[in-house]
């Protein structure tokens, strides 16, 4: 059987690759998205004092450190058996929303918009941020501005842009000052204007991508995410809800503490990235998606005026739930809008400047589970501690792992549609990459690796002879 391999060569060996298995008839038979970097982070945590976990977890990733920081702090809150002050919760929410903006901005403006603006068949040497700058410098600058908006809020609140230590078990370490609040509020109008402009532009282009919409991981799956009583978009806390591809509720009010009862983790020999599945439906039938698309499918409303208007339009895309993963991009923009609006409303609440922002306690529970919605989807941290508060067990379920089954099936769907013959064509390679990019997987988070990801693509015949080869990056 001929095998087509897209193999990233990383600064640190391993990481990931894509293999497409061709049948003798020249048609694609199967496809795998491999992640080959060893994932041993949980063992590394054992023996550490639980209070150190948030700061340690924040160092997993340079893109979404705040998600790990807050989720870890929530697990620690439970170990301490405390209810954190309301103001502390609001401040944590602000920081998380700021991170959603900067992370979504990186995904949309810098990684994916070159595909939309320059086309999937364009030269990869120019289909990047620099190509974007040349084609649409205003949009490129606005992408930078949205990254800066989120990063600046994180830095103002946490003291550092990349690995802020302000969020601690029990709340946050310092209250918000009037000056900081007003600084943040002053940046809101520009961020809203940019996001609305970008949404308008994106919606105007959707018709150009009908083929990609039809083939980019467009199939029925379950959707999983946090939910809250009013049906609003839940990012910080809530229970777990699962819906099917028609929008019908499959399970509701699932307690995050019981995640091991409804989530299974399968290990495939070709990847170190575990594939999570909805346990009652078994593996692999329990395939589900998380992240922006899943969250908008789950929510009845966002909870802010401008985002709710956009969500209503988004709902018109399909009769029930929106199934094409191409629309992850669209969902990201709506979530960015919601995040900016929600930051504004949180900062306008009267108690946001309260000095009571931290609860103190020793370990009172032998274990804690933290759960929340990271930019890429539901993030779970689960710790057990001994009597001295030292970690004896840690488990993390990362958003990229939730989507692993769907990404694999998406690569297969795209490959079947676009891969033909024995030559590697640029447009085919671009689309295989782009379907993964739609999910915005964070391999730093999911495997705790780091490094560059240039691509190596090989086409081999049934005897393993190299027919064609492409290096990128």
């Amino acid at each position: 059987m001929p095998t087509l391999t897209i193999d990233p060569v990383t600064r640190i060996e391993g990481h990931s690759k894509i293999t497409i298995m061709m049948g003798d008839d020249g048609e694609v038979q199967d496809a795998h998205f491999h992640v080959t970097q060893f994932r041993g982070f949980e063992k590394f945590c054992e023996g550490r004092p639980f209070e150190e976990m948030p700061a340690l977890m924040a160092r997993i990733c340079g893109i979404c450190p705040v998600s790990h920081l807050i989720t870890s702090a929530k697990a620690c809150d439970m170990i301490m058996a405390v209810t954190i002050p309301e103001t502390a919760e609001k401040l944590r929410r602000v920081m998380n929303l700021a991170q959603i903006v900067q992370s979504h901005a990186l995904s949309f403006f810098h990684l994916s918009s070159p595909d939309f603006l320059l086309g999937f068949d364009s030269d990869p040497a120019t289909r990047n941020i620099v190509g974007l700058l040349q084609r649409d410098p205003k949009m490129a600058r606005e992408g930078i501005r949205m990254r800066q908006f989120g990063q600046q809020i994180i830095q103002w609140l946490g003291g550092k842009r990349v690995h802020p230590g302000w969020i601690v078990p029990g709340g946050v370490s310092e209250p918000l000052t009037v000056e900081r609040r007003d600084q943040i509020l002053a940046t809101i109008p520009e961020a809203i204007a940019i996001t609305l402009r970008t949404l308008t532009g994106f919606k105007g282009q959707i018709e150009n991508f009908r083929e990609e919409i039809r083939t980019f991981a467009n199939f029925p799956t379950l959707f999983l995410g946090l939910a809250k009583p009013d049906g609003g978009l839940a990012l910080y806390k809530g229970w777990v809800r699962v819906i099917d591809s028609t929008g019908e509720t499959v399970a509701d009010h699932l307690n995050p503490l019981d995640y091991q009862e409804f989530l299974g983790e399968a290990v495939e020999p070709w990847s170190y990235l575990k594939s999570t599945y909805y346990k009652p439906m078994g593996y692999p039938d329990g395939i589900y998606r998380v992240g922006p698309l899943a969250r908008l499918n789950l929510a009845k409303r966002c909870g802010t005026p401008l985002a709710d208007a956009e969500l209503a339009e988004f709902r018109e895309l399909e009769r029930h739930t929106v199934l094409s993963s191409f629309y992850y991009h669209y969902a990201r923009l709506i979530e960015m809008l919601f995040a900016v609006e929600r930051i504004q409303s949180l900062l306008r609440e009267t108690d946001i400047l309260s000095k009571h922002v931290r609860a103190h306690a020793s370990p009172n529970n032998p274990e804690g589970v933290g759960i929340m919605e990271a930019p890429r989807g539901t993030l779970i941290h689960h710790y057990r501690v001994n009597e001295d508060g030292l970690i004896t067990h840690a488990n993390m379920i990362i958003a990229t792992g939730h989507n692993n089954l769907a990404m694999n099936r998406g690569v297969l769907q795209v490959a079947r549609h676009f891969v033909r013959g024995e030559k590697i064509e640029e447009g085919m390679l671009n689309r295989v990459e782009a379907v993964i990019r739609a999910f915005d997987p964070c391999l730093s988070c999911s495997t705790h690796a780091s490094g560059q990801m240039p691509l190596h693509l090989e086409l081999r015949d049934r005897d393993g002879e190299l027919l064609d080869e492409v290096w990128r990056g």
Partner: protein
């Protein structure tokens, strides 16, 4: 805006991958009262750094490298080079310079100083080989900054 920008980057949980940030911290101590030098430590290079880069006269990037000759230090001139994106979240120095040029119309001179690491496994310590080379690496980084600071000053005088 400071004239010299130092960016050390890498994961602080992957052993020698953190060497760039480590040396950046040492240089931050050295230049903490100097308004002409700014130091950034980061997990990875990201697009918004283009603004900081564009506003500088000289940029020193500090990073780890992979190779068989652990401890080997290498200095390379960086020039703007557009490159392809993958589904990862990383940029490289040349792409960052290219972004600075196209976004802000200004590109500084830049050098990349790397050291080949010996251990990239999970952990927040450096390998003995890299620790032994740390004084030399710091000296070289310091010399590069001093040399370019002087040339920036000369340029400004002219």
């Amino acid at each position: 805006m400071p004239k010299v920008l130092i960016i050390g980057y890498g994961s602080s949980l992957r052993g020698d991958d953190n060497i760039g940030c480590h040396v950046a911290q040492m240089l931050e101590q050295q230049y903490r009262d100097d308004p002409d030098v700014r130091v950034i430590g980061a997990h990875q290079l990201t697009p918004e750094m283009a603004e900081d880069v564009a506003g500088s006269e000289f940029v020193l990037f500090l990073d780890a490298a992979v190779g068989t000759d652990a401890g080997n230090i290498k200095q390379t001139t960086v020039t703007p080079r557009p490159g392809p994106l993958s589904f990862g979240h990383h940029m490289d120095p040349a792409l960052l310079l290219a972004a600075a040029m196209d976004l802000y119309g200004s590109v500084p001179r830049a050098q990349l100083l790397t050291i080949v690491g010996a251990a990239f496994e999970l952990g927040d310590g450096l390998s003995p080989v890299v620790v032994r080379q740390l004084p030399e690496l710091f000296e070289q980084a310091h010399a590069i900054v001093e040399s370019n600071r002087r040339s920036v000053a000369q340029l400004l005088r002219h």
